[in-house]
């Protein structure tokens, strides 16, 4: 297909001449074979635009005229034939060109809309996280203020030292939270680096931790056998894992445990391309599961089974887009009433 696309100009000219030659050799003349000219005509217009389409139309009309004249029509009849065909060809080219513009515009608009939605979803997730983060920050800030007061007030030297140590601890906590937020909020499209999946899994679990606790859910990060390294934009992978964790928590209205596991898996052994090695993050919940009828649609934009206002139906589709961008995939298995398992596969980083 790329070949046709790249060489459409010589190809369409050659095809037109070939049809003309066939017309001449078989002597069918006029009627049916004239319709065959439409093929290179439409292809040229669709792939390269109106100018090439009109050029091919002129060429095809010339062929029709020449053959008509060669096979004994008078000059007048040949001319009328040529003009008639040319008219038809030009109309087809112009209509085709219109359609092409229309489709192109729709495609651009759609692309812009999807981009916008991705951004909106990102903001929404950040909003949810911000509430959690605000709570996480509130407590250490309060502890700092209280201990500072304690130092200012009375307090023995020993108490003051203790208070100061507590303050230091709390500032460390706050810096860690801020680092997280920054990493999450960064619009990092290109910057891929070698990322350790275990670390990403842990930091996503920390980020969602307060939301989980509020809903009586627990996030267990199961230690893998060693670090799994992939080439990825870590903030994006963290967003994917955070999304999966939020979904897992939402699927367990009575609470429960979400297990996060990292590992290495191979896929594609049965195809010609041979086996490929992926780093994997598995998110397993004990929730309601996904109905079989819903499974094919869960990655569709706006598909949601959550209550109004709880989910936008974009989380999984955005996650899917991110993972696809990284050359990976997301696998799902689910048993209704037992829980779901999502496996994010990302190509492992080359040994370097």
């Amino acid at each position: 297909m790329t070949f046709v696309r790249r060489f459409i100009t010589p190809l369409s000219i050659a095809a037109t001449l070939a049809i003309g030659a066939a017309d001449y050799v078989t002597g069918v003349a006029i009627t049916l074979l004239q319709l065959a000219y439409l093929a290179p005509l439409v292809a040229a217009t669709w792939l390269r635009g109106r100018t090439l389409g009109l050029a091919i139309a002129v060429l095809a009309s010339a062929c029709v005229g020449a053959i008509s004249f060669t096979f004994g029509d008078t000059l007048w009849v040949s001319a009328i034939n040529t003009i008639g065909c040319a008219g038809m060809f030009v109309v087809v080219v112009l209509l085709n060109d219109r359609l092409r513009h229309y489709v192109e515009r729709e495609r651009l608009q759609r692309w812009a809309a999807v981009e916008q939605l991705r951004h909106a979803e990102r903001l929404n997730v950040i909003g949810v996280l911000a509430a959690g983060v605000a709570h996480e920050l509130g407590t250490p800030l309060n502890v700092i203020a209280g201990n500072a007061e304690l130092i200012a007030d009375d307090a023995s030297p020993e108490e003051r030292r203790k208070a100061a140590r507590t303050i230091l601890n709390q500032t460390d906590k706050i810096s860690a939270i801020i680092t997280h937020l920054l990493a999450f909020g960064r619009r990092n499209h290109g910057g891929r680096a070698v990322v350790e999946l275990d670390r990403v899994a842990r930091s996503a679990a920390e980020l969602i931790g307060s939301t989980a606790r509020k809903r009586n859910a627990r996030i267990d990060v199961v230690e893998g056998s060693g670090p799994v390294r992939v080439r990825a934009a870590d903030a994006q992978v963290e967003q994917v894992v955070s999304n999966l964790l939020l979904n897992a928590i939402h699927s367990m209205p009575r609470g429960g445990t979400v297990r996060v596991r990292t590992g290495v898996e191979t896929r594609g052994g049965e195809t010609r391309g041979g086996e490929r090695t992926f780093g994997s993050i598995t998110v397993e919940d004990e929730g309601q599961g996904i109905a079989e009828a819903d499974l094919p649609r869960i990655f569709d934009p706006f598909f949601t089974t959550k209550d109004v206002g709880e989910g936008t139906g974009l989380g999984l589709s955005v996650s899917y887009g991110i993972v696809q961008d990284h050359g990976g995939s997301i696998e799902v298995s689910s048993v209704v009433g037992r829980g779901s398992s999502f496996v994010v596969l990302l190509p492992v980083a080359d040994r370097a």
Binding site: A131, A134, H135, G138, T139, P140, L141, N142, V143, A145, G146, N147, E149, L150, D153, E159, T166, N169, Q170, S210, R213, K214, N216
Partner: protein, 131 residues
Amino acid sequence: MRPTLIIADDNADMRNLVRSTLHRDFPDVIEAADGRQLYWQLLRSSIAPTVRAQPKFVVVADVCMPSFSGLDVLDAWHDGSALVPAVVITSFPDDEVRERVRQLGGILLAKPFTRTSLRDAVAEAARRIPS
């Protein structure tokens, strides 16, 4: 007799801060690290022989805690009985929380609070202990 102080917060540093702030007025302290423990401590405090006749305790509870939120526990405890002498701590003092605390007869304390405001709030709550 001085009332016992029940401190419920999932953050140990926070519990320490509350404890050290109120140490002079409330030397008897019970700590709870989540909603479940808070409920258990409330139950335990009120069935102990010495306090059965007169439950004398003041609760300082965080709203956001694992298992049950502080508000949920106090709500369940409050059910049908007298007001709970409680100071409820929260980072998000929205209308819903305010209303629930009001119905409990408790005192809302928004984070971040000063040690003085904590002392005042707990003293106010202690005054509400039914005698």
